[in-house]
Symmetry: C2
Subunit: 337 residues, 2 copies
């Protein structure tokens, strides 16, 4: 079933049928209806491969995540898929597995498939050199967007959460509740989000007139641990070293869960002995005991913005897109802090 057959069936030319289908150029109402009904009747569906070849671009977009098994990424993926489907964009999922060198392979695939765009949702910090390589190796028409990581200074529209402020709010809350000293556990060096959150932590501590204690900052960038395991390990190590603290701000809900496990395994109480706050607002947070206090995300809002970005660029009416869009996190107070 090709466009040619629809043309033959209607007695029109392929050009006219195409015009109707893409709504480009003038067509009489009569022809339009004829074409539309015939398309319907024959069950014709355009071949997107042919469309893509002819126009130079497919309509699909690559979604690059660091780790789809991480709740935040899975949730983001769901929301993006819903939002982008609305405007006819298919998602090609590419998982980096935290190996940044795979980003170059991703770029190759994007080029080979002539994709419409790439959404970078990598939590790992991408070094400037590599960002430039990505931008340089991609055709100019390939739309790039970054989620979670500010890449706006490279001309890449970035959609992020207010991580610094969120961390500040969390730490302030902990201090006010008397949970000082406050520790911070996250990937920091190798994660831009981690860095932003750490900055918020620093701000709040300093603003309270307290000193920064290196022993309270646990960056697991250089370990082979991830997610829950990292939280568990970092907390255990700190406890082993005899570090004194009354609360922990974790870089993700998963880290927080691991941290909770370590605390409970010592027979300590949450939040009485050690309070814990996570980052992300994943849905299982209300199902663990004690319930996890966390900083929520606005994935729905973020996905809508990304959709608007693609829509606007597609219509060409775009002009310069907004380079930075920031979404709010809220402190969801539950039982763990």
């Amino acid at each position: 079933m090709t466009l040619r057959e629809v043309a033959r069936e209607t007695g029109l030319s392929p050009a006219t049928v195409s015009r109707v289908l893409r709504d480009s150029g003038p067509v009489s109402a009569k022809t339009r209806n004829l074409v539309l009904s015939t398309v319907e009747r024959l069950g014709y569906r355009p071949n997107s491969l042919a469309q893509g070849l002819r126009t130079g671009r497919s309509t699909a977009v690559a979604l690059v995540v660091s780790d789809i098994e991480q709740g935040w990424h899975a949730s983001l993926t769901k929301h993006l898929q819903v939002s982008l489907e609305e405007i006819g964009i298919d998602l090609i999922l590419m998982n980096l597995g935290h190996e940044l060198r795979r980003l170059d392979m991703v770029v190759e695939r994007v080029q080979a498939m002539r994709l419409r765009g790439v959404i970078l949702a990598a939590s790992d910090r991408i070094p400037p050199k590599q960002v430039k390589r990505v931008v340089g190796n991609l055709d100019k028409e390939v739309l790039i967007a970054s989620i979670g990581q500010r890449l706006d200074r490279y001309g890449i529209p970035s959609f992020v959460h207010s991580d610094t402020e969120a961390a500040e709010a969390a730490v302030e809350y902990l201090l006010q509740k008397g949970c000082s000293p406050v520790a911070f556990c996250s990937r920091i060096r190798t994660s831009t989000m981690g860095k932003e959150r750490f900055q918020g932590y620093l701000n709040a501590i300093e603003r309270a007139g307290l000193a920064i204690d290196e022993n309270l900052v646990w960056d697991y960038s250089d370990t082979s641990f991830f997610r829950q395991a990292a939280g568990y390990k970092m907390l255990n190590d700190a406890l082993d070293r005899g570090v004194k603290f009354k609360s922990v701000l974790a870089g993700s809900d998963e880290i927080a869960l691991g941290a909770m496990a370590a605390v409970l395994d010592r027979g300590l109480r949450i939040p009485d002995d050690i309070a814990i706050i996570g980052f992300g607002g994943l849905d299982w947070g209300v199902s663990v005991r004690p319930r996890l206090t966390t900083l929520t995300s606005d994935l729905a809002g973020l996905s809508e913005s990304v959709r608007e970005f693609f829509l606007q660029q597609k219509n060409g009416a775009g002009g310069k897109p907004q380079m930075l869009t920031v979404f709010r996190r809220e402190l969801a107070l539950r039982a763990s802090a």
Copy 2:
């Protein structure tokens, strides 16, 4: 940068260059090297849109999941993506959001994009009529595979876990530990996996000479709850109704987590008052307290088999593929049961 340019640069014809690149037909070692080095030098990458248009098929495959936010699906997605990438298959992610009618849209997209295949990883039971519609609306060359749901009687190669046996083993373990009565909480009516597991539950109960008690079977198919929330709700309801039981076999780790929360909220102890076993073996199971006893999955093995299926079909050497491949689950004994 097109194949034609590579041909011009080497002084060969497009056909020869194509032959080298696809390793089809005879080429002299000399020409082959020349082409390969020129391709390298020029940084030429084949346009997969053109390839797909010409050959009639793209190399990408659609992965259809019910709910990417569910741990099992996210984990499966990761493993599949790794396995399929090895043989040059890109994954287009399609999320049903538990709305089966979206399956028809999926089929349309698959057709429009001339995808190589579809992997159905839907936990929701697909009614026979709809399976037939899917098969009927898809071109004959589109490879179909089913994961988690047996669709082999429709001629669709299916990759599943030994759910019935796994449930039997879990229930037997519970009975032997004296945790009778055993309850079962899952989607049953609307989930094929749920049905298999339920069958295992029934088998074990009957084999032990016990009577099946309807009050101990909680099917939440007709509620609007999912995952943790469903487990929490079902358990709470049962407890409210005064149903007596000493253990619960849950249809997923998420359900188990919700169930644990409900039990703990009543001040009951796990596993002493109520023991709980999950399904899936997700990684966070070792991070909740008490640690979740669960039936593990073999996602790595499953993904490899799916890869072999696609590889075999690609090489045409295939012949009839194996219609049913079953993977073992193991009872991972931890603290919750």
